[in-house]
């Protein structure tokens, strides 16, 4: 096939792709600019233009022949409201480059969308209205781009037609911008005077700006040298999947996210500290001698060193960080506020099921000014600087050093929504060697010495539901059967270990986290740990459940209607809550999330505590945790 001649026609061998984001508010003419790109670079077709002409009559801005913005405003609802509310990706191409443009809304309430679009962009086109100059929104867009790691910015000074294409307007505004942006860490800032509506300096140089000697926008985008951000960085290879087609082949499939690796190179898995050498770099198109940033390959090693999904392969001389605590910028993306201390899922690289929590908020960032503001939580579209702790050590780099290995997303454990996104700044407590040195004596051995199986028996329910009463009885009965137990009670813990905690949502979460860790230590020492905590949130209970092995967490739901609890009110707390003396009291003005599938469900109305305790024992026996006879008689 005569492909050489053809390639001349459609692309050059060195044709590459540039991914950029356009930033600007609706009024800046951003959608018009993208529509213009698609139109003038012939990325749209006649039938789409006809549809556009029809749409212009229906939705368009009055007075325009063809409203290019309609080309890029996608969903029905958005079109009806006349605003862009999501991230849309647009494509156009020249023989030298193909382009993917992320089109995102610019208003403050859409910061999350802008961050999403910026996360994969190498360059930002920042639109400024020539009549208005550098505005608060310009600063916000620039700040978010900088935070998300974009290093190249082009300022498109739009609506030059409305200021008679005057050079001094351009010079003044560009001067303002460069001054403002000098500390945002951009490596290049270009500025081009344009009119998106009339096409000045978009695809071709405009005669209206003969004082301007720079390239038009497309020329600039085609020629800017986006030095491969990843080529010169240390080698990183997050393992996605272990490929084991047969007993003789064990390969690690993934993409080289930075640096390069060659056959024979020494490698290390920083999380385990184990070393080996690259044996083969396998691809469908034949083995490679060397793989570089961007290559999706399968690596085999000289030694079997127990690698799985989530591990990162690196070179021994250039290791990433391994830590279970780090500081990071977090963008909150959910309607529900962030709750410090609550357990969330974290996805860091291919470590897709890590769990952890945001342990402390350092400050919130005002995205308009960059100022640090004191804050205890983050709301939708807010950005803050936080401390994060993960249950197991994570492997990462600082985001500034490596966008691919320094980023993470935060996932709500109950709804599975993506609630936040983060950029790691630095590790807080390095796990220099391995975080967990396997203990020579384990939970099994310690429990076996006591002739029992260790577990957590977790009583949850409203205040006054009867948790402590039943838990005490279970404790006594187990003790009488010669089981080694320990009872942890919410009230008692709050007098000691957790005395510094209040009743806010985040303090409650921290209270449970502390209790869970103590309970886990006791399980490790081989005990049956009986816990009695209101523990109103499912996420927190699940966090404790995740601390121990499968089958070691027995959730006991003490189910008593709120009316009955108020009637019993053994500690007089409901009365206080009603009188306003106690704030945020579960069941009164704070929610209780009932367990959906507890291991044991106790309905207490008209039941004797003694009978309920026996029910618990029977269930424990049924699960094989205890032997249903008195062991002293055996």
């Amino acid at each position: 096939m005569d492909t050489d001649a053809l390639r001349e026609l459609t692309f050059t061998d060195s044709k590459d792709q540039l991914r950029f984001i356009t930033c600007g508010s609706m009024d800046d003419g951003k959608s018009t600019l993208i529509g213009r790109f698609l139109h003038d670079s012939k990325a749209i077709y006649e039938d789409q233009l006809q549809a556009l002409a029809r749409d212009t009559v229906k939705h368009g801005t009055p007075g325009d022949a063809i409203d290019f913005a309609l080309l890029v405003d996608g969903l029905e609802a958005e079109r009806d409201q006349g605003i862009t509310i999501d991230v849309a990706y647009r494509f156009f191409s020249t023989p030298r480059r193909s382009f993917m443009a992320a089109d995102t809304p610019g208003h403050e309430q859409y910061t999350r969308n802008m961050a999403t679009g910026a996360s994969n962009a190498q360059l930002a086109v920042i639109l400024i209205d020539a009549r208005k100059g550098v505005l608060v929104q310009t600063k916000r867009h620039s700040y978010i781009c900088s935070l998300l790691g974009i290093r190249h910015v082009v300022v498109a000074l739009n609506k030059m037609d409305l200021v008679e294409y005057r050079k001094e307007v351009f010079d003044r505004i560009v001067g303002d911008y460069v001054k403002f942006a000098s500390n945002l860490g951009f490596t290049s800032i270009a500025a081009i005077p344009i009119s998106a509506r009339h096409g000045d300096n978009i695809i071709n140089r405009s005669r209206n700006t003969d004082w301007f000697h720079g390239p038009c926008l497309l020329d600039y985008l085609e020629s800017i040298d986006i030095q491969s951000e990843t080529a010169g960085l240390p080698f990183r290879f997050p393992v996605q999947w272990v490929n084991r087609p047969n007993m003789d082949f064990r390969g690690y499939a993934g993409t080289v996210v930075s640096g390069s690796i060659a056959v024979g190179d020494e490698i290390v898995v920083p999380a385990s500290g184990r070393n080996s050498r690259v044996k083969q770099i396998v691809t469908y198109d034949g083995d490679l001698v060397r793989a570089e940033a961007g290559d999706a390959v399968t690596i085999t090693l000289a030694d079997e060193i127990g690698i799985g999904r989530g591990d990162v392969i690196a070179k021994p001389t250039e290791r990433p960080e391994v830590a279970d605590q780090f500081a990071a910028h977090v963008i909150w993306m959910d309607q529900e506020d962030m709750v410090p201390g609550r357990s969330y899922g974290f996805r860091i690289g291919t470590q897709s099921s890590a769990s952890g929590s945001i342990t402390a908020m350092k400050y919130r960032i005002d995205v308009n000014t960059g100022a640090h503001v004191a804050a205890r939580t983050l709301r939708l579209n807010e950005i803050g600087f936080c401390k994060i702790a993960t249950l197991l050590p994570a492997t990462f780099d600082a985001y500034e050093a490596n966008r691919r290995t320094g980023s993470f997303i935060v996932i709500d454990g109950e709804t599975n929504r993506t609630v936040g996104a983060g950029m790691i700044a630095f590790p807080l407590r390095r796990a220099v060697n391995m975080a967990w040195r396997p203990l020579s004596l384990g939970k099994k051995e310690r429990a076996a010495l006591k002739h029992q199986r260790a577990c957590i028996i977790w009583f949850t329910g409203l205040s006054g539901a009867g948790k402590s009463t039943i838990a005490n009885l279970v404790d006594q009965k187990l003790f009488a059967m010669s089981y080694h137990t320990m009872l942890l009670d919410g009230d008692n813990l709050r007098h000691g270990l957790n005395r510094d905690l209040g009743l806010t949502e985040s303090d409650r979460a921290e209270n449970i986290r502390g209790a869970g860790q103590v309970a886990k230590l006791m399980v490790d020492s081989g005990l049956l740990v009986i816990c009695s905590f209101i523990s109103p949130y499912k996420a927190e209970r699940d966090m404790v459940r995740d601390l121990v092995s499968d089958g070691e967490f027995i959730e006991v739901f003490v189910d008593t209607p709120i009316g009955e609890c108020v009637r019993r009110d053994p500690k007089g707390r409901y009365a206080k809550a009603k009188s306003g003396m106690v704030k945020t009291f579960t069941g009164v003005d704070a929610p209780y999330e009932a367990p959906s599938a507890p291991e044991i469900h106790l309905t207490t109305l008209n039941q004797q505590p003694e009978r309920l305790a026996d029910t618990v024992l029977n269930c424990l026996a049924a699960r094989g945790i205890i032997v249903p006879t008195n062991r002293t008689e055996n």
Binding site: T3, S14, Y45, E46, A88, F91, P245, A296, T350
Partner: protein
């Protein structure tokens, strides 16, 4: 496959001879060095990464196989992603029973050649109700034989993730589609309840009953697809290449007379024209274009100067404004 095919091999309608399908030698002689330009290498690697994520994180994925050029590219990418292992999931073809005959034979040959398990699902209930694209109209036909059928198949086999070949450049409402498109119970797509996608960190979590559609070639354009097919020698259905075929003019489109099931209206006379297809669907709904592009090289060259979009040949889109978004909400890809 164990489904009752309608017998359309009889009848004496004028039709072109089935085009011989030339098998490319990709399994015999692999290219020695990579010749792809960088933009295609990047797209290829990105798609491979997405496919591996799905296989690593989902219990039972499947690849929606529509037999078209995009499916051919996806299948090729899947072979690369899991090599030297075989593609670790099945192909699912939702058969409306109105596909071109050449598509069906290509489908069966492909599955056999690659040794991949192929599941063909037909909405039997729709067949019994007599739903077809000619009498029922394209909207109802698509709803029953594609959307409903797809949901049936996903439920029947319990797939928790399904690869689809949709691309963001195809149509306006798709420009905002996620790569991992979350579907709640009943396969509902709620545009307001889609997860933000940052970097390459996909949120793959779901509860039982919820599913994911995964668009592994989201960021490819139609031209990328053709260039890749050309440079990688990927087999595609011969209908994409021009040759003389029997067609009739209908609703402003050229409809191929694939067999006797296409009832001709009184003033319609089949003509032998040099035509090819830019997209393939149900043959009574897919318009051909007049073209001399008989080879892959010609097709790519023709793409360069094309003035109409690929969806222009599809009757489904012109029915109503934003019809794609509507069908998506209901569970179509």
């Amino acid at each position: 496959m164990s489904y009752g095919k309608l017998d359309h091999r009889n009848g004496d309608l004028p039709r072109s001879e089935p085009q011989m399908f030339t098998m490319h030698a990709q399994n015999i002689a692999k290219p020695q060095s990579r010749t792809l330009p960088r933009h295609l290498r990047r797209l290829e690697a990105e798609s491979i990464e997405i496919m591996r994520e799905v296989v690593a994180d989902f219990r039972k994925p499947v690849m929606l196989y529509s037999i078209g050029k995009d499916s051919s590219v996806m299948l090729h990418l899947a072979q690369k992603a899991f090599y030297p292992a075989k593609v670790p999931f099945s192909l699912l073809h939702v058969d409306t029973t109105w596909k071109f005959r050449e598509m069906i034979s290509f489908r069966d040959e492909t599955a056999q050649r690659l040794g991949i398990n192929l599941i063909v699902h037909v909405n039997r209930d729709g067949i019994e109700r007599g739903i077809n694209p000619i009498d029922s109209g394209s909207t109802l036909h698509t709803q029953v034989m594609k959307t409903d059928a797809l949901k049936q198949a996903l439920d029947l086999y319990g797939f928790d993730a399904a690869f689809g070949g949709a691309r963001r450049d195809e149509e306006k409402s798709r420009a905002k589609e996620r790569i991992f498109s979350f579907r709640s119970h009943g396969h509902v797509w709620d545009p307001r309840n889609q997860r933000p996608e940052l970097w390459n960190l996909f949120n793959t979590r779901s509860w039982k009953g919820e599913t994911m559609r995964v668009f592994a070639i989201s960021n490819w354009t139609e031209l990328d697809v053709w260039e890749y097919i050309m440079l990688e020698n990927i087999p595609v259905v011969p209908l994409y290449f021009a040759k003389k075929r029997w067609v009739v003019h209908r609703n402003g489109a050229l409809i191929m007379v694939d067999d006797e099931r296409l009832p001709l209206v009184s003033n319609e006379t089949p003509e032998l024209k040099m035509v090819r297809f830019r997209t393939l669907g149900c043959y009574p709904l897919s318009g051909a274009i007049e073209s001399d592009a008989a080879t892959i090289k010609d097709v790519v060259a023709e793409m360069q100067v094309a003035t109409l979009s690929e969806r222009q040949g599809r009757l489904i889109d012109s029915d109503e404004v934003a019809s794609m978004e509507k069908t998506k909400r209901e569970g179509y890809f």
